[in-house]
Every structure is written in C-alpha cells, then in structure tokens.
C-alpha cells in the first residue's frame, strides 16, 4: 500500500474533480488531481500516484528512478495491475477515450 506509482500527465481535464490522464508504462488512466490543487501539474509533468490520486509532483529523472525501484522491489506487475484497475479498468487503448 505504500505503492507510489510514477506517471506522466498527458492531459488535465478541468472540472469537479479535476482529473488528469496519466500514462504509466504505456497504460493510460485518469487519476484525481484534487490533492495537487494548490500546485496543479501540467501536461508533460510527472506525478507520484497513490490509490488513484496524484500525491506529489516529481522530476522525470526521479520518476524513472522510481519505476526502476518498483521493478527492483518486484512490484512492477502489481503496479500495472493497479494502474489497469483504475477507473474499474475502463478503456485499455490510449487512442480511445471512453466518455464517463
């Protein structure tokens, strides 16, 4: 549960809540950006995600390090399972965005 997953913001979707489409190892999902409302990330920036919420912004270098650490911890599969599970597993394809 201390799983902090690095992801790249692809798109910020304004609203209530403000969501971000993140990409983690090629898989795209929407995460909640509500916890970063004081310092909203922009597309192209990296965040650390925990249970479907972006918790903090990090540099790209640190994001890649984190991904490596998760792999070293043997948690890469768990990470992808979690990311795929966000949004209850909606829409695998990056090209196709299902309307909510």
């Amino acid at each position: 549960m201390c799983l902090a997953i690095p992801g790249k913001i692809v798109e910020v979707i304004q609203g209530s809540p403000t969501l971000g489409t993140v990409e983690v190892a090629g898989v795209r999902r929407k995460v909640d950006l509500g916890l970063l409302q004081d310092d909203m990330p922009k597309a192209g920036e990296w965040v650390l995600i925990h249970v479907g919420f972006a918790m903090s912004k990090i540099s790209e270098a640190d994001a890649l390090d984190q991904m490596r650490t998760l792999a070293m911890l043997g948690e890469a599969e768990q990470v992808m399972q979690e990311v795929r599970g966000y949004g209850l597993g909606e829409g695998e394809s990056a090209a196709q965005e299902k309307p909510n």
């Binding site: 201390c2 509500g34 916890l35 004081d38 925990h50 070293m72 979690e82």
Partner: protein, 375 residues
Amino acid sequence: MRFVDEFRDPEIIGKTAEEIRRLNDPGRHYRFMEVCGGHTHAIYRFGLKDLLPSNIELIHGPGCPVCVLPMGRIDDGLAIAQDQSVIFTAFGDMMRVPGTNGSPLEHKARGMEVRIVYSPSDALKLARSNPDKHVMFFAIGFETTAPSTALTLMRAKAERITNFSVFCNHVTIIPGIRAILDSPDMRLDAFIGPGHVSTVIGCRPYEWIAANEHKPIVVSGFEPLDLLQSIVMILRQLRGGEAKVENQYKRVVPWEGNRAALRAMAEVFELRPYFEWRGLGFISQSALRLRESYAEWDAERRFTVPGVRVTDPRAAQCGEVLKGVLKPAQCKLFGRECTPEHPIGALMVSTEGSCAAYHSYQHRKELVSSIQPVA
C-alpha cells in the same frame, strides 16, 4: 562485497556502506526502527542487512495499516456486507486478511458481493453505476491514503450519492510511534521515518521525537541508496550527540507536507478518542472517523456493527512482532502453520507485513544457504 554488484550504481552503494562502517562504533549495539512497512519490504528485498555491520540492528515498526488492524474490525466490515444489497469493496491487500469466519475472499466464495478496488473513487463509481445496491468502502491506511478517502467523501457529498458509505479504519502514524517509545519493551536509538506518509504530513510532526525523546529521525526514500544514506545520516547525528529531524527523501517529501491533503482530511475526519492497534493495545487519538457532517456516509452510523473485540489466535505472536519485540522467525507459527499461502495473521498477508517480507526473502535465502551441496 558480494551483494553490491546486484545494485545499480554499485560504486556509490559500496562507498555508502563503507561510510557506515567508518561511522559505526563497534562497541555499541544500535537499534534503528524503520516505521513504515514499505521500508521493511525494501530492506528485505534488497538484502540491506547484509551490507550493515552486525552491531546495527534494524527493528520493524508498526507502519503497516493492514497489520495493525485488529481482527474484530474485519469482522465488523464483513458484518455490514452480510446484507445482500451491500457490495463490500476494499484494496487487494485486504482481501486475504483473516476474519474470525474467514477472509473477505472466502466470504466472496460463499456468495457475498465483494469487489477489489484500486482507488476509493472507484468504489464511489461503483455506487454511481449500481443505484439499487449500497457500496461500502473498507477504508484503511495511514495519512498517505486518508486524504484520498476524504476527497472521495467530499465528492460523494457534493453529488449526493447516498448509496455509498465508508467504513473508516484510517490510523495516524505519530501516536503509533509514541506508543512504541512509551513501551517498556523497546530501547531504540533512532528512527528511519516513513516516506510516503511524510509527503502528506511533512516533517514537522516528527520534531518531538528529536526534541523530547532525543532520538534522530531521518525520513527516507525507498531505494537501497536512500536507506543506506539515511543510516549514514543517523550515525552522523549519533556520533555528534545530536538528535534532529532530517529529510533524506527531499525529492518527494516537502517539509511542510501537502496542505490540500491536510485540508481535505480536516474537512471530513476527526480523531477517535481511542482505537485498538494489534500489538499496541488501545492508543488515544490514533485513528480517524467521519465527522458529524458526513454521518450519512459513515458505515458505522448507517449500519449496526458487532464491535466485538477479537483477539488473535493464542499461538500467533503478531502483536510482539509488530512491536518489534520478536523477529518474524521467532513466532512459533512462522513458516509452519502460518505461511503466505495459508496466513494466520495479517503480517503474513500484507505486502508490507514483516512476516511476509521475511518469508519471501530472508527465509528463502537462509533455507538456500543452509542446503549443503552434495559432493
């Protein structure tokens, strides 16, 4: 060193390990507690103990929210979901934790509606798309996770989604650390502070550990180098007779924490007067519950929970392992009646539990090394 080559940047790891040896006082027996279960897991996974001098002992702290939850609370959550119209939702880690009459997964096999979610917002989503059902989210976790539950509840309230409730088992880390320090069984020299809880609460809440208890605490990242560097920083402090809070995980942890997360928590939650932690007993002001303004979404208020205190099976020594008094392998059931495949207690189920970590890495390593090659 045999294991250094397995790491990335083995040279830096090697230098850091050397620095530890240089700062080490071999006449002393150091006891450092890593609070967070994620750190316990990393320490075992990376075999970091092998890089440390033998007089530095790492003690596992109670920072595993699944591990510290008493069995009675699992029973309570499952009791709520006995109602056919209720869908029990929880993170994957919760699914195999034993209740008195079986784990959530076992209840699912017996016909209960149980679903894994990876986010509290997905539990809310389930409620939106199942208006004829009630979705109960079994919320668990320290301050890392509580803000996400809080935001989800704020969303539920704003959208007036009434077929949704949270069974709140969020606990707070500082009272847990305080209970450890107050325990007569423990003599500790320093703490390796939790990484991700600190992104929310920041580093200030640890200042009393340094000021009042005169023990160094270094908030650490999760890579091998992070943990080793944190140990260097602790040793430097001890050598200089200092005790202060330091942040080794600066790249992620802001000293002031995450204000938006803290605001969300304050909006939705209040502190329970007391809460029971496995192994540490009742600790005052150590857990969260929903405020009156969110009563409609509080599973404990909407449903009747048995609220029975359930003690662990007598032979299981979960409490002592959790407090750091016993090492996992010293529990009588370890590796025999209690294994990851057939867990008796939560410490063997959770990925952050010290028993599970020890069993996966250390235990196998020792088994392997104890096998004599046939000539």
